[in-house]
């Protein structure tokens, strides 16, 4: 099973070599680690590596994607299984080219500035979202055509929810 793992954008091969109880041996990018690892609370792992104690906090996001927090660092991690890898390869690595606008956090739609069929220029604001008394403008980064508007003004939205579908011109 040839897995890959993507950490903050960088893709590396990863393999589980051995596992006995809490002791795990893993090879990542041709480097081997021997861990003593225990999930001490839901999503909180205690790791002892060569005597050094680490606390790692893991939040699962979408399928195969995780947010990892260590003492001072924050990582976005994605596990790439062989199947996904095959599909990605066929797409020529374009798997990140998402054609919609979303917000990183929950909020409320204040204003929608576009409608289906509009052709908009890079930098144009599509939607204004408020969260906790602060309003933020969401723009497109390249020229696009608005395919569909999925929300209306006044709607409450979740984080990472598609708001406006776009298509390339």
């Amino acid at each position: 099973m040839a897995y890959e793992i993507k950490v903050n954008g960088e893709i590396m091969p990863i393999e589980l070599l051995k596992q006995e109880g809490n002791n795990v041996s893993v090879n990542i990018n041709n480097k081997s680690y021997e861990f003593d690892i225990v999930e001490v609370e839901k999503g909180i792992y205690s790791i002892i590596l060569d005597g050094v104690s680490f606390n790692v906090e893991l939040t699962p996001n979408e399928y195969r994607k995780y947010t990892i927090d260590t003492l001072y660092d924050h990582f976005d991690v994605e596990v790439i299984d062989p199947e996904t890898r095959y599909i990605n390869n066929r797409k020529g690595g374009h798997e990140d080219d998402v054609n919609y606008i979303s917000t990183p956090m929950p909020g409320k739609i204040v204003k929608i500035l576009v409608k289906a069929g509009d052709e908009i220029k890079a930098g144009d604001t599509c939607v204004i979202v408020s969260a906790m008394k602060m309003e933020s403008e969401y723009k497109v980064v390249s020229d696009k055509k608005v395919k569909r508007v999925l929300v209306k003004e006044g709607d409450s939205i979740e984080g990472d929810q598609p708001l406006i579908l776009l298509e390339d011109i």
Binding site: M1, Y3, I5, V7, N8, E10, M12, I14, L16, K18, Q19, G21, N22, V24, V26, I28, N29, K31, Y33, F35, I37, V38, E39, V40, K42, G43, I44, Y45, S46, I47, F54, N55, V56, E57, L58, T59, P60, R64, Y66, I68, D69, T70, Y72, D73, H74, F75, V77, V79, P104, M105, P106, G107, K108, A131, M132, K133, M134, S136, S156, G159
Partner: protein, 503 residues
């Protein structure tokens, strides 16, 4: 005697007020919006009533609903906390009319201090130093120039009808006076159709230092020393400490006396704060008065050893102050940081969400005033502050180390918080040396930038942890995965039960 208090607020301050009520044997009544049914203040209170929909304009700001609950529950008094109705003179009046004690000052004090111009005039009359400047708009160029010469550069020239920086000019050199005033006037005319200007002394390196005061209904007023609040971002305080690292005994005593004079000038009753702007040479000027409890009140409580909410309640009970000025001292050093649900890597955007897990800091010299808990969803309608962390130590340097230790132990997942940013502040040389002013955050960007580089080892550890978690989930979804090497659920189940089963 007050036996039941309605707390007209939410979040950490509502819980904090209720804690003191509980210690005094006073029943507490919570009010909550529809978005706050699961909020901690509802759970902590003795009684709880819904007062309307999520937006505060339809709930926490609706006097009628709050008064109705107070009457229904027989509450003797209302504590407004900070924000919401705490500095609303009409609400103070309304309470009085309804025969309910408003735990705060009279509408007269709120109104006088709430209006900048009136406050300035009242303070000048009381002999309290204010920032030198004009108290009336100036139309005439000559008058403006002579006024500036009287005050002395640097000064700020501001459009009297203005706002948003339009028609505003900083004058730093004598020779620029005339040209700057002309420019400000013409810009003011173009923007607002009115070329009248104000002139105000410009404080080059301003410190924000405030004094806590307490005044009873019998003419007694004391101050509880200063708080240094110069670490600010977008005019929001981020870190507060007491004593101020730049304060001297002499100036402290003077400023304290002025703070008391300021409060007495408006017949103040209750707890309040006199804010001063202070320059590097310790020249100080009255800025404004906050006629309520402040977010940062705990550092004063720690160093002076007084429960300010209890004192507020005592005062509302018409008691005389518990302490005399001569009985008060500052012992040791306290620092507070405010923890916000925000993303420091993304321009401090609010980052509400559901708390997946929280570990609160504990131990010697640490106070944590919060209201969130595991599984709690922070509503998007209110302030994103989730808690305040307060530390104390005999000396400032030790307090900084203690704050770092507490921040190290404070873990929240599910949302992003300002914890990493606060931790960086504790390491900025200017902060450690106590040499900072309100420009601190912009002046020290290089120390406060999100750290983009991590060690390869940590990166690998993060990757491996996610990978192992993934394999575990996989093997739980499809048992008998077939791969002999991977039985990844071991470390999960094992870790869980080990204390009991591995004997």
């Amino acid at each position: 005697m007050i036996e039941k208090i309605l707390v007209a607020n939410r979040g950490e301050i509502a819980v904090r007020v209720m804690r003191s009520c509980r210690e005094m044997g006073i029943k507490s009544v919570a009010v909550y919006s529809e978005a706050d049914r699961t909020s901690m203040h509802v759970r902590y209170a003795d009684e709880a009533y819904c007062i309307g929909p999520a937006p505060s304009a339809e709930s926490y700001l609706v006097s009628d609903n709050i008064i109705e609950v107070a009457k229904k529950t027989g509450a003797d008094a209302i504590h407004p906390g900070y924000g919401f109705l705490s500095e609303n003179a009409d609400f103070s009046d309304r309470c009085e009319k309804e025969g309910i004690i408003f735990i705060g000052p009279s509408s007269y004090a709120i109104n006088t201090m709430g209006d900048k111009i009136t406050a300035r005039k009242t303070m000048t009359a009381a002999g309290v130093p204010v920032v030198p400047g004009t108290s009336e708009p100036i139309k005439d160029l000559e008058d403006a120039v002579s006024e500036i010469k009287k005050i002395g550069v640097p000064v700020m020239v501001k459009a009297s009808a203005g706002g948003g920086g339009k028609g505003m000019r900083l004058v730093e050199r004598e020779e620029d006076i005339i040209s700057s005033v002309k420019a400000a006037k013409s810009e003011a005319m173009a923007s607002f159709g009115d070329d009248a200007v104000y002139i105000e002394k410009y404080i080059n390196s301003p410190h924000h230092i405030e004094f806590q005061i307490l005044a009873d209904n019998h003419g007694n007023c004391i101050h509880l020393f200063e708080r240094e609040c110069s670490v600010q971002r977008r005019h929001q305080k981020v870190v507060e400490e007491t004593p101020s690292p730049i304060m001297t005994e002499k100036v402290r005593a003077e400023m304290g006396e002025y703070a008391v004079a300021a409060a007495k000038a408006v017949n103040y009753s209750g707890a309040g704060t006199i804010e001063f702007i202070v320059d590097d040479d310790l020249n100080y000027y009255f800025l404004e008065m906050n006629t309520r409890l402040q977010v940062e009140h705990p550092i004063t409580e720690r160093v002076v050893g007084i429960d300010l909410v209890k004192e507020q309640i005592n005062i509302s009970n018409n008691k005389t102050l518990t302490y005399k000025q001569s009985e008060l001292t500052q012992k040791g050093h306290a620092i507070e940081v405010r923890i916000y649900a925000e993303d420091p890597d993304n321009n401090f955007m609010p980052n509400p969400g559901t708390i997946k897990h929280i570990t609160e800091p504990l131990g010697l010299g640490v106070r944590h005033d919060g209201y969130v808990y595991q599984g709690y969803t922070i509503p998007i309608h209110y302030d994103p502050m989730i808690s305040k962390l307060i530390v104390w130590a005999p000396e400032r340097a030790e307090a900084i180390e203690r704050m770092k230790r507490a921040l190290y132990a404070y873990k929240i997942t599910g949302i992003k918080t300002s914890i990493p940013f606060l931790n960086k502040i504790m390491d900025v040389p200017a902060f450690r040396e106590g040499k900072y002013n309100t420009h601190f955050i912009q002046d020290n960007q290089q120390y406060l930038e999100p750290q983009k580089k991590s060690t390869q080892k940590l990166k690998d550890i993060a990757a491996i942890t996610a990978f192992l978690d993934y394999l575990t989930e996989q093997s739980e979804i499809k048992p008998g995965n077939g791969d002999a090497k991977s039985e990844p659920s071991k470390w999960k189940s094992c870790g869980r039960k080990r204390g009991v089963s591995r004997l």
